[in-house]
Amino acid sequence: MAALLSVQNLRAAYRLANGVELHAVDDVSIDLREGEVLGVVGESGCGKSTLATILALNAAPPLYVKSGTMQVQGRHADLTESDPLPRSERGKLISTLPQSAMNAMNPTTRVRDLAYDVLRAHERTTRKAAWGRAGARLEQLGLPTRVLERYPHELSGGMRQRVITVISTLLDPTILIADEPTSALDVSSQRAVVEMLKDLLARKIISGVLFITHDLPLLRHIADRVAVMYAGKVAELGPTERVINTPEHPYARALVGSILVPEPHIRAARVLGIPGSPPDLAAMPKGCRFHPRCPLADTRSREEVPPLVEVGDSGSHFAACWRTLEARQLLAGNLVGGPDGRVG
């Protein structure tokens, strides 16, 4: 499958006033495929929002990209430059869907004027034409066109987020970067936004979505693949069902294990969460960054950084853990030619 967006070796840091650099994203490489939703999940401070900011080409001081390239639709961009892609092309290539965008919006701007502003920023258009286009798009996606006349505060939280989704995709961007778009919503509105993103993909209005969230179960309903991030690195990457059902990295396993869903097994035993807290970016542990919280950590985990290597047989499941790797090698040695080399 062709990669729509390919990011290589991305490193980025926040520079503090005292000159100290906090590495929020460290050597992250990911691909987004045609027609795909790639979920990025992790606890707060894991670097997922920094990643979104950089890929949306919104990195600004004190955030500095130290290295990294991006390929999008055959265009090559060096992310360390201040303007990796010409402004005129950005709107058609990449758009963002932030969390509760309308709360930050001028409350005296009507939805239709917001649509006009967005279109005008990227192409020559008239008010009438912009409103017409926004209206047609709303209708196409099954939303009432009268919301164009409304002010943000007149819409419910869920409707607001759906309307902002429509507006942020008015230019038919190739890639939509959704940064916690549903985190402030209740479950019913969450579902509506997720359905709308799927609809946008099905209609080929957009070609790929990077969906950033801390809500792993939600990804089961939208993402084709999931990247689990921890302390600025990708800990595990694979098809959604595999990552959720058979997580390979101890962190991913703990994350899946601490999810509370209304299913009978949850009440059967005490759920144990993850001990400790994510590392301080200013004092990153040596070796595997999860080792201070990991029940499996050994000497090697404490010393050497584990690489992200394949752990499935389909060529699609990767994890960065020495212990997982060892277990797999051990199994492969014992069960040569076994039907499935997965580690439970």
Partner: protein, 272 residues
């Protein structure tokens, strides 16, 4: 669970609690905001009981009125009509400090609920302001120690300032603050919604442990059915200001016939 004998961890014996008498009873509670054509009924004719030692979860989507109901129950907001009874006594109006000795709260935002100029010690000791008689220094210290240990925090945190604590630690401090008073009812209004998934579990476990250890009744207000399901004995489902469904948690989730409850359950993302 056994709540017939309510151990009091401070050594102060409270009145014996009758298992069959509700700790808190709410009768036809209403709260309307605004007036005339602009009137919005945030809480409509809500009635329910909380029994000693129970963990009850109040679930509903945003705008369902559950936070308004929480403020009514905490007497931070006066109802338009209706009655709140604590152990059979009408407490809808009248002095609040006595009420707050028995009913305390933990709020949603671990950052905003902290006075940022206070140390942990000061935040915790401030709770004693509702007591009639200020305890001796020795008793204050013993309450501090007990409360901290009940939420699994070390005493070394006492002199810390809020910005030195993580979100999870702050939320535990707020729990410990409430426990300083050994309240009969603890109302937790979305205590985990601003925390990471891994921390959510530990806060909920902590709340459960507090109930198990002290018999404190717990009302957990949440929009997350998964959390409610994990921790609660009984569910109250709120929709557009009304209490639409109630029952033992497992029974409601598995068998509820109410269309709103069913829709709510159907919308929750699941793992399997």
């Amino acid at each position: 669970m056994d709540a017939s004998v309510r151990p009091s961890h401070t050594g102060v014996q409270k009145s014996p609690v009758d298992q069959t008498q509700p700790l808190l009873a709410v009768r036809n509670l209403n709260r309307t905001f605004g007036s005339g054509a602009n009137a919005v009924a945030a809480v409509k004719d809500v009635s329910f009981e909380l029994y000693p030692g129970e963990i009850v979860a109040l679930v509903g989507e945003s705008g369902s009125g559950k936070s308004t109901l929480a403020r009514l129950l905490l007497r931070l907001l006066a109802p338009t009509s209706g009655e709140i009874q604590l152990l059979g006594k009408n407490v809808t109006h009248g002095p609040k400090t006595a009420y707050w000795r028995e009913v305390q709260a933990v709020f949603q935002d671990p950052f905003a609920s902290f006075n940022q100029f206070y140390s942990v010690r000061r935040v915790m000791l401030s709770a004693l302001g509702v007591l009639q008689k200020q305890p001796t220094r020795a008793e204050r210290d013993s309450r501090l120690r007990t409360a901290l240990s009940q939420v699994g925090l070390s005493e070394s945190l006492l002199e810390k300032r809020p910005y030195e604590l993580s979100g999870g630690q702050r939320q535990r401090v707020m729990m410990a603050r409430a426990l300083m008073l050994a309240p009969q009812l603890l109302i937790a209004d979305e205590p985990t919604s601003m925390l990471d998934a891994s921390l959510r579990v530990s806060i909920l476990n902590q709340l459960k442990d507090v109930r198990d250890a002290t018999g404190t009744t717990l009302l957990l207000i949440t929009h997350d059915l998964g959390q409610a399901y994990y921790v609660s004995d009984r569910l109250l489902v709120m929709y557009r200001g009304e209490l639409v469904d109630t029952g033992p948690t497992e029974q409601v989730v598995a068998q509820s016939q109410h269309p709103y409850t069913r829709a709510l359950i159907a919308d929750v993302p699941t793992l399997h």
